[in-house]
């Protein structure tokens, strides 16, 4: 039976508890919250949706589409009959080459691999050091994404391994892999059709983001729902993104999970953040920051607001947040 040395242990335990509590509360005790000090003051904004701007087909990059945008009747989620644009995207970015994803070995630098984000507010370069540091980052010694003998990173470098790992239910044999797929596995991109109301219709109740797509980027790439980070990390995998926050699987092809600036093709003349895509409800999605590096302070719960030029529109979240918008303000096509 273990005997406790009470004269020593009791003060020790009290000290540990005190330190622990201090650690828990330290940031609050030592820090004072002040209100935002910077605002996007260039435009008059509010969060009403009285003023809407129609979808402009000419905002899309020409090579982003595999056919001309056509018009057809559609039924919206609120039951209204409306006119929608049918937009057929190429499924690959029209304005850049898809980048690298996984590092090859534990000495790889940031230039030799892509990025990772898990929604917690940090973007990581997937360097060799990042691979080495995974057990500490995720506080789990089971992480071992490389061969200790060779220093080579375990990468899903075949179509079969891509198929087994680039999915929510990662096959067990691909645990502890950096997951990447080649765009060649999907013949250069998976084209997809979107029906988007030409004139967005604001609804009285916002619609939640499901596990389907959120919208479409102006360069022909799908804006996907948040990546299933729990499933990815739970399988001890890193589903590497290229530097544009896109990655590939065999079902969706190349798609974005965050806004890294690569699809901001429509620069705004008034210094407002550039436009990067449309949400499925037809409202535009613009970048997070204006030309002065400022983020609006009056965004509503969907991350949208209204100004005199663009009407109601969204501002994408930071790439590290694994999302674009918070909800749909308008009705989507069924």
């Amino acid at each position: 039976m273990i005997k406790f040395n009470t004269p020593i242990l009791t003060p020790l335990a009290v000290c540990i508890l005190a330190l622990s509590l201090a650690a828990c509360n330290g940031s609050d005790a030592e820090s004072t919250v002040v209100t935002e000090t910077t605002t996007d003051e260039g435009t008059t904004t509010d969060t009403s949706t009285d003023f809407v701007v129609e979808v402009d087909p000419f905002n899309f990059e020409s090579d982003a589409l595999i056919s001309s945008i056509s018009t057809q009747t559609c039924t919206l989620s609120n039951g209204d009959e409306a006119s929608c644009y049918k937009i057929d995207i190429a499924g690959a970015p029209s304005n850049y080459e898809i980048g690298v994803f996984c590092p090859q070995n534990i000495t790889s630098t940031a230039d030799e691999a892509g990025i990772w984000f898990d929604g917690s507010g940090e973007v990581y370069d997937i360097t060799g050091d990042f691979i080495l540091n995974l057990p500490i980052l995720y506080n789990d010694s089971h992480w071992q994404l490389y061969d200790e003998g060779t220093g080579l990173v375990n990468v899903t470098d075949t179509q079969e391994s891509c198929d087994g790992a680039a999915r929510p239910n990662v096959e067990e044999q691909y645990q502890n892999h950096c997951v990447e797929c080649s765009i060649d596995y999907v013949d250069g991109g998976i084209s997809e059709s979107f029906l988007i109301p030409i004139s967005p219709v604001a609804t009285t109740q916002n619609s939640s983001i499901g596990n389907a797509n959120v919208g479409v980027a102006l360069n022909g790439v799908v804006l996907a729902a948040p990546a299933p980070v729990d499933a990815i990390l739970g399988a001890y995998t890193i589903a590497a993104f290229d530097d544009c926050a896109g990655h590939i699987n065999l079902v969706a092809g190349y798609h974005y999970h965050g806004e890294a600036g690569c699809s901001q093709t429509q620069i705004q003349s008034d210094g407002h953040a550039a436009m990067m895509g449309y949400a499925l409800d037809g409202f535009g999605i613009l970048g997070m920051l204006n030309e002065d590096g400022l983020e609006p302070t009056d965004l509503d719960e969907c991350r949208g607001h209204t100004d005199d030029t663009r009407g109601y529109h969204y501002h994408a979240a930071d790439v590290s947040e694994n999302m674009f918008i918070g909800c749909f303000k308008g009705a989507t096509a069924r």
């Binding site: 509590l21 898990d118 929604g119 917690s120 596990n211 590096g293 719960e301 947040e321």
Partner: protein
């Protein structure tokens, strides 16, 4: 002996409490946006701190799970103890301008 047992139980309890506390801080923070909305309803205000940044927003459903969607500029938390006295009045700095 009775006093010894009481002290032992108290010490064990304290150690367990501290280890639970340590475990709750052991994560990498990736769950913070979800944990911020664990006991809230949709559209309720929320905030969380992760990687020395404070995010403020509302709870929204993403794939049927509530998470805190930020709608205010990120703020960075600065530990007062690491700042010069002249800078201690503003210990949270907006990250919106980067």
């Amino acid at each position: 002996m009775k006093i010894f047992n009481v002290i032992k139980a108290l010490t064990t309890g304290l150690l367990l409490a501290t280890s639970c506390s340590a475990l709750s801080h052991a994560g990498h923070g990736s769950n913070a946006p979800w944990e911020a909305c664990e006991e809230k309803a949709i559209n309720e205000d929320c905030s969380y701190t992760s990687h020395d940044k404070k995010a403020t927003g509302t709870c929204q459903a993403m794939n049927k799970v509530l998470m805190c969607v930020r709608n205010k500029p990120l703020e960075t938390l600065i530990d007062k103890a690491t700042q010069p006295a002249s800078a201690q009045k503003q210990s949270v700095k907006s990250l919106a301008k980067r």
